[in-house]
Subunit: 251 residues, 2 copies
Amino acid sequence: MSVKAFQQVETKSAHDQVYHILKRAILAGFFRPGEQVTIRGLASQLGTSEMPVREAIKSLVAQKAIEATQDRKFRIPVLSSQQMKDILELRIMLEGLATEEAAERLTQEQLDHLHAIHEEMGEAISNQDSQGMIEANIRFHFFIYDQCSNQALPAIIESLWLQYSPTLTEYVPRLMKHLTHKDQQAARILDRERHTRLLDAFKARDPSRARAHMEADLSTFLRVVDKIGDSFADDFEQHRSVRDYAKFPLH
Amino acid sequence: MSVKAFQQVETKSAHDQVYHILKRAILAGFFRPGEQVTIRGLASQLGTSEMPVREAIKSLVAQKAIEATQDRKFRIPVLSSQQMKDILELRIMLEGLATEEAAERLTQEQLDHLHAIHEEMGEAISNQDSQGMIEANIRFHFFIYDQCSNQALPAIIESLWLQYSPTLTEYVPRLMKHLTHKDQQAARILDRERHTRLLDAFKARDPSRARAHMEADLSTFLRVVDKIGDSFADDFEQHRSVRDYAKFPLH
DNA sequence: AATTATGGTCTGTGATCACAGATCATAGTA
DNA sequence: TACTATGATCTGTGATCACAGACCATAATT
């Protein structure tokens, strides 16, 4: 289910297509926290009518990926640093478990596929293709999670990512400013470094080491968020901009 | 959010009301696994039009509380014993954590409220009021989870309950048959016994003991499901019956 | 000039309708 | 009698419309 967010979904229903497009767009950082989303706006930009968009938005509201405000509008949630930390705490548990379970089951073929995604991500970094980098990162993680033995787990992890991604995307460049220049340089290849360490653990057939790496990386980020706190969270504003959905075609 | 499923929701939107009614109905075992739910059927029985019901169903589909079948119908999911075990495994982690966190924060007032629910459940058992027993049980658990420090946790737990409750309700009487008569007698007051032990741990201000009790009880059930397996899961059929929504008034 | 009133616009909401696909009972046919 | 064909019915789906509330810019009034 979750990795399908970045695959072509072969459903005939317009509602499902809109739903998956919006999920992809949210995960890819296409929306900014606090940004308002409107039914008619999305409908016209996606070339469909209100109905499928309404249902998709309501579905995402149920998953807390979109927020229904008191004045009867929809917007992308703005997470406080406390909410970020809460979700990170759960991510450490759940993605740690999923990583360990996946490590116990990964076939050579699946490992090769992970390597392929890893290479794609390397190319995206080389080409300064941040969009491609983000998408490769998502596909890398969810390909792992989808291999875990607990079938209920990937969906929960995905729901956390959906809540968390827009604020995360907004946080990252701001977190960068709090790092030294040397650390910034390191951070640019950090994701890939993490993936390399994970792949090593997978190759070594060491599930607990794989889990430890995943947990450690998320814990590092948790500490950073905890340190920075809400010091810059107050300037999330209501965003409204013309959106280019060319990357998420409906047909 | 979650405990509100059993409170009066003061929203003006028909969609939200239908959504909460359906959640309550699902958690309370009102639907049987495999049972078909239809938009027009619910709309007429709830005295509203198709639109709010459509949106509510789509929301619940996104949470996997309702399943969209391949032949374009909606039905209550039928979970295999493996799916039950997967969810139970996550429940042990998540409800264990939530219980521990709640135990660290419970005020005396909240403890008193838990006692009150505990008493209600005792009366329901005495009166053979199974509906009241189930609802008291739900309120007892979610009142605890709602007190945990991690604000993202209760919603995840609720989503697991929504997936899990219909099949669980169907399982229980069948599991009973696999117990000895003496064990059956014990099982009738099992829920209350569990709650008593939990309340003791809460009163003793012992979070880790509270967590251990919660985990142990769920683990016991996990072992039972594992032992019984899918031996009787094949006779879940498509149910269709006239539903009495009198207990879930829309207005 | 400052305040109030007004009207247009944008929002979600609920209702209704036409339609296509699936299903099933019934009637027609071999 | 057994099989087939047909038509009624039920399903979700998508589109469209009217409506009320919020918002805002503009005009009228004090």
